[in-house]
């Protein structure tokens, strides 16, 4: 079977997801301005330890090989280590994303002793000023401390995860140098207008010229830099970047949120992309296999307005979440379409029409109290 027909097979969906993200909590010590899940405060409906273990039992039976744990800040959960160990004992590998706040020397040693565990520490600037403007005061130093602890504990090659923005695009080489200095692996992903990112995307997303810059940089670094296949919209610029070059939402990818709701991908926390809940009878497996939403996402793509553009085979019309949360039709160009079609469409979107994320767990703004 050729690579191409493999991709078309995958578009009809797999028996279980390859890449399942599980946000364990909406609680977070940070308030990043682009947080894709609008995290901050814990949701009281959060899955209990017992419920979370039942989901892990299901994932083991479905032979989900590994899960990506995120949040919020997943290490905030008191049962974090219990759940990670439970997953690993059931042969479900874990990769978790953290801002590093809770990785001290002792935790780093504990993490280094575990098999089948990968850690991804987020920074969004190669220096404190650039990073902290997005992730909050002190967050750069905090992340670097966690990296230092992991390195001294002999964790091995952890990952450093960067969301590429207008402000940090010139620092790609610096990020690579930081990763190399730790023997770590760099992962760069695309900024989506999801969660709080909906409010900041217009200021933070890379300019048209910067899109070219990202494309050339990724092409030059090939498989040495991980991308979560998130830049396939750039393939319209020429040679394809490494990866599957398709939207995996509901086909090979999905999200379980902290309260057990299942969404098509981590970037579409909105009722329109909610497939069901792990709390429904039949659990996760039934949602994955039978939900109407996932079935519809596994139908052949409709290129819509992009059908007449010669680039559609390369870019697949881009990212569903990016279109949805900027108010663009799903069967049209991506807002960052490299031909500029998306940008001109964006200008026609009336103010206030773009859908709002389903939930907001941001911490309330602290007002100065009058005495």
């Amino acid at each position: 079977m050729s690579a191409e027909s493999l991709v078309s097979q995958m578009k009809f969906g797999l028996d279980a997801p390859i890449c399942l993200t599980w946000e364990l909590t909406y609680a977070c010590n940070l308030q990043c301005v682009h947080c894709l899940s609008s995290s901050g405060q814990r949701d009281e409906r959060e899955l209990s330890t017992a419920e979370a273990k039942r989901v892990l039992d299901e994932l083991r039976d479905l032979q989900v090989f590994y899960i990506n744990i995120g949040g919020g800040e997943p290490m905030v959960r008191r049962d974090f280590f219990e759940l990670v160990e439970y997953a690993i004992d059931n042969r479900i590998g874990v990769k978790f994303s953290t801002n590093g706040a809770f990785i001290d020397a002792a935790r780093a040693k504990q993490l280094a002793a575990m098999d089948y565990l990968d850690i991804q520490i987020s920074i969004d600037g190669a220096d404190a000023a650039t990073n902290d403007a997005v992730r909050g005061e002190g967050s750069y130093a905090m992340a670097r401390r966690a990296m230092d602890h992991l390195a001294s504990a002999g964790f091995g090659p952890f990952k450093i995860s960067v969301v590429v923005t207008r402000q940090n695009v010139d620092q790609l080489d610096d990020f690579k140098a930081i990763a190399d200095s730790y023997g770590a692996q760099l992962r760069v992903t695309r900024l989506r207008p999801s969660g709080r990112g909906a409010d900041t995307w217009h200021q933070l997303h890379p300019t048209a010229q910067q899109q070219h810059q990202i494309y050339r940089w990724l092409l030059a670094h090939g498989e040495n830099v991980l991308t979560g296949d998130s830049f396939f919209h750039l393939n319209a610029l020429g040679e394809s970047l490494p990866g599957l070059n398709m939207c995996g939402a509901g086909r090979v990818v999905c999200l379980i949120d902290p309260i057990g709701d299942v969404y098509a991908c981590p970037f579409v926390i909105h009722d329109e992309f909610r497939a069901g809940s792990v709390r429904d009878s039949g659990g996760f497996a039934k949602v994955w296999k039978e939900s109407e939403l996932f079935r519809s996402l596994r139908e052949p793509d409709n290129p819509g307005a992009c059908g007449s553009c010669g680039n559609y085979d390369s870019c697949q019309g881009g990212c569903m979440a990016a279109k949805f949360f900027t108010g663009l039709p799903l069967d049209g160009p991506d807002p960052e379409c490299v031909t500029g079609f998306g940008e001109s469409q964006l200008m026609k979107v009336p103010v206030g029409i773009a859908p709002k994320p389903a939930m907001d767990h941001s911490k309330p703004v602290l007002l100065t109290r009058k005495r």
Binding site: M1, L6, Q9, F12, L14, D15, A16, I18, Q63, F65, Y66, R91, G93, D115, Y116, D118
Partner: protein, 96 residues
């Protein structure tokens, strides 16, 4: 695909192979997904027949007997040997 000369094919057929103990196979409509817990690589097995052979390799004394035992037609042996070589290089299978 390079066609190996007969002696090389014979040599390959005499080898004792097995599924790597750190690899899990998950059936899929196109064949199977293989995941290596050690190197974290995901590999696609693109035909149910190759999945069967990979699964059962370890239960036969040699590759030849595994292919016979799984009912693979002799005309397909060369392509199976070449597919298995690439699976060995990605550590899905290994020498016993």
């Amino acid at each position: 695909m390079a066609v190996s000369p007969a002696p090389e094919l014979d040599q390959a057929l005499g080898r004792r192979l097995e599924l790597h103990p750190q690899v899990a196979l998950r059936p899929e409509p196109f064949g199977a997904l293989a995941y290596h817990y050690g190197n974290r690589r995901l590999i696609f097995l693109r035909h149910p027949d190759i999945v069967r052979v990979v699964r059962e390799l370890g239960e036969y004394p040699t590759l030849e007997e595994a292919l016979e035992g799984c009912g693979i037609d002799r005309s397909r042996w060369r392509s199976f040997v070449s597919a298995l070589q690439s699976l060995e290089s990605s550590e899905v299978i290994r020498e016993r």
